[in-house]
């Protein structure tokens, strides 16, 4: 029997409505590089959803690409990007930020997050140091929402981060590769329009939330807008058939689909979470979104691995391993049922 994969939120293709739109529009003739009507329309839909009519919206293929393009467009050479030590740009992008010639200034994380106070202490220490110019200048702050551990910043935490960023003239960049799962979580106390007032630039991930691929970059701050398309092209992110991105985001944002899919995935994840909790299985971290990190003993791990795919996250001790189960727009009720039954039998 084929295993059911919960390894990631990109194990399947795209939501059927997206495929359908690609088929329907296939023989349309459009200009390339994102200068078509679909991209324009999708951008309008996103600006409406963000209540940010002055924002610039661009579409890129992947997350690493989007991160490095945004960061590279903002920083001057002597500046680095502040982030949590668990931040995706620090850990899992093969040094793409450094390949773009900038240091990642990693701060200790707690639940995948950093605090405004940490940032304030770090940046003020930089400017207070006798040899300031011998050190990389903090030039911007990167956070992910939800974090790599599925956790969420609260509204007040984001507000405080936004304040400290402005205090030191550092743009705040929110990596929203899984933004929908965050905003739709029952634990989330912030809306997309609110988030758009706190971030200077952020992404809305499509790849992990129903699209074949695609990340929307929303640039809120005027001073970050200039020449962004040059940066996209330079970083290899300008898709020849750019409309593919526009068409996908048109579908996702046309009818609240993006958020409906995320909400459902979050609920599936909560079902899985409860199944583990019911067995007294602890979690590496308390995640309210679509990623769950139970800590399994060796027999349980082996047992579940017979029928399910999931990611090994980290060794907790000699006999226990934290693993990751992800849900997505594509996770079927039956798949979760089967998993929960298997958990109950552990």
């Amino acid at each position: 029997m084929k295993k059911i994969l919960f390894q990631s939120d990109y194990n399947e293709g795209a939501h059927p409505a997206i495929l359908e739109a690609l088929v329907t529009t296939n023989m349309e003739q459009t200009p390339g590089y994102g200068e078509d009507t679909h991209c324009r329309h999708a951008a309008e839909l996103i600006k409406e959803a963000c209540q940010a009519s002055d924002a610039d919206v661009h579409f890129l293929v992947g997350g690493t690409q989007a991160n490095v393009t945004v960061i590279s467009s903002i920083l001057r050479p002597h500046q680095g990007v502040v982030c949590a030590a668990s931040g995706h740009i620090h850990v899992h992008e093969t040094g793409a930020v450094e390949h773009g010639a900038h240091k990642v200034l990693a701060l200790p994380q707690h639940d995948g997050k950093i605090t405004a106070e940490q940032v304030d202490t770090f940046v003020s220490a930089h400017y207070a140091d006798e040899s300031t110019e011998h050190m990389v200048q903090p030039g911007m702050v990167y956070i992910s929402f939800p974090t790599e551990f599925g956790t969420l910043y609260s509204r007040s935490e984001l507000l405080a981060l936004s304040h400290v960023c402005h205090k030191y003239d550092m743009p705040l960049f929110i990596d929203g590769a899984r933004l929908g799962y965050g905003l739709q979580s029952s634990s989330c106390d912030i809306t997309l329009p609110e988030l758009a007032t706190l971030a200077d630039v952020f992404t809305i991930g499509g790849t992990k939330q129903g699209a074949l691929f695609g990340e929307a970059v929303v640039i809120v701050s005027d001073r970050l807008k200039k020449d962004f398309r040059y940066h996209i092209k330079q970083n290899g992110g300008m898709l020849a058939k750019g409309r593919l991105l526009g068409i996908q985001f048109e579908v996702l944002f046309a009818d609240d689909l993006y958020f409906r899919l995320a909400r459902r995935a979050d609920m599936q994840a909560q079902r899985i979470r409860q199944a583990f909790a019911a067995k007294g299985i602890p979690f590496l971290i308390d995640s309210p979104t679509n990623q769950q990190f139970p800590i399994l003993d060796a027999p349980s791990l082996q047992q579940l691995a017979l029928s399910f795919g999931f990611s090994l996250w980290e060794k907790v001790d000699d006999t226990h391993t934290a693993v990751r189960f992800c849900t997505s727009w594509a996770t079927a009720d039956e798949a979760v049922d089967t998993l929960c039954q298997a958990i109950a039998k552990l």
Copy 2:
């Protein structure tokens, strides 16, 4: 009435067989990042077509990305890439190669091409110079096949280039963004397996030849293979749902489709070419592939612009402009008929 676009070879979506395959496979669960069975199968098909069973095949989304990833993986910091002054990497990639910290060493082009003799003269002059180490060392050679002007290197020209590259220990990289159009041209005297013995690494373009997107990188030389996946990831080219690339190339290489589509587009281009020639309209360059560059006087240009889309290429004199018409897998017979009739009426 809507204009018929001949602006580029990426004005439409994908060949229907590709869309169909994406729909069919949509709910399959696979691992990400190109480690799925579709990618493996597509790689096998390509190695067969190249008769290069030891080659490594990787799939990237776009051409600039593929170029910069290949180049960045090969060169040491003090080395540059030799190419024609008209080379895509020199002119139209927003300095992506330089953003990756390497100089493009541009040589004068003729019909979009450089010769082995030019390369030999240039490289031997470098090593003969008193201040060799004050100059960028030529580390590899980049050519495009067909070139940016639609022209082709002959077999003997490629053989000579390959020789001079080996003489100076410089890998030869062939950018095959439009490889099919080249190989299927009636003027082409080289086969894909032959090309695969002359290049150290080359690409097989999908984006302009029937795919939604995608470039296959074929690494022939053993010493260029190590750690290439790190470079893909670092350059933002590792697609989460990597199978999308595998599925597309499976379709293109399953049934000779890639070459059949290219052959047909080349023939459509020759029909257009003959229509211009029949009117005594000259060409900027003599192209045997899917791009045609007639030189139009102002009234003809205006007349054609009413019903057709095409690219302005360069001003030839005060009253004449070279323009570009492209055909592709998607060019309908009727579209070419309509264009040829309009040309006849100029």
Copy 3:
């Protein structure tokens, strides 16, 4: 007998007054990194000489370092630096600018120079292009004064370049590695204070004009001043014992020494020039400064090479070679006498 070297303007150590100052100050205790009183004093002297009291003055060790630090501090990632194809940064710095991730946008040179009209045409074509963002954006202009061929821009040429730079919001950077030789040439029609109003940033070379080493970077434009010391450090140009640079420039600018030395070297070069001209020997280029480029036939070249060192510049034809003779602060009258006699005997 030892050959007399005219190979470069850095064949000897430093002017004795500089060595003396280094000896005198040797046991002073000062803070490092250019934050000592000598550096401050030298900066004041230079600002006075430039009549630019608001300028920032920094001291770096070498020319390539100064060029790359200035350029890297100015450009955004998608921008390149416009220069003559013969520009030092394009030809003889092992791609240091590209290693810093920027493209050098080389324009055809005439006598080592580019014109305001060339720049205007190039930049306006960039912005007019349909695919502007697919090309590197011209972000600044680099010229050398004197040029690599010893030639000079006239005041009106510089004025025009300055105008076109401002028109497109591109800083004008003048590489003054041999600035003194230029300003003291009898053909020069511009003063240092005038030059300081036309450039946004420029260097005053010490290495080739009497110092052991050292280039002063003069930043005139306010918007280029911020955080420059970070860039110096990042580019490896912050000398621990920074005072060594201050002390040397104090001596050079204390008593007009810098200009007196340059004037004398220019006169020695003119003597050499007249000796060649008197024999009917042609020149590759008409240089009014300390570098002379006679074109020698093979027997003359061999004859002179017995007793003198000079640089081979370029082959002119099968039997003639352009060579370079340099004078400097250290060129003795007797050395020039001996050379002129040898030339007369050819």
Copy 4:
């Protein structure tokens, strides 16, 4: 009264013998860029001292420059350099390594050091990870000897590091900015020739040990030697009057001067250390070399600051600060006497 500075080991100029040599050789005419007889001779002396007759020796101006040139010459783009979190390249070079496009892979330090075991664990974890290619590959190891805290690796620690480096095919680079102070310390159990068999490449610092400036790079491993001069030039480290470096190292290595000066400075530092210890003042770290890090309470700090210069290192608690006192070749007996008396009176 002028304060006596113990702030750094580069508060003065150069040892008088070096100045004398510069004066004596001043009017010699030599070729530039390190291709003169002084550089060749100095390289020979260093190879003798290292008993490494096959090594390549190059001379660069400064430490950051030397570090970034060595690292940039070794790593491929997807690789990073492993070092202690306190390593100079990670903390105090304004991200020069990242500006050169490589990540610094910082490991937790103990007394400024990392262990072979740490490196082994880190690197084996990298290769064991499911998503290896999503992370920067460890490509080399950097340590400083002595460390930034003045501490020393023992012979067995170095041997173990060398082993683990070879196990993973990672060159070991030892930053010897203060190498002499390390080798001459009474706590040191390794000789220069032994060190030269364990490192693949290392530097011998001149700037902090009697020279005006200058770092010798000693390349032991054959495979790291190729084309190194290109890298020097590209990184702005090729001094036009390169002989200045050769002359200085000739003096330092001609008569054991380098080591005699270091030994004396170490002894002066031990006198200072004992003075603090005699008062029961604790140290941040137990340093056997020329840097001492006593922890002062506020009144003591204020008292000493009246007459002496020293560096503030880090706050230990609300009322205590660790500071740094450095000795050097230039530290006079009387200066240390005065300091010790002042300490005794605290």
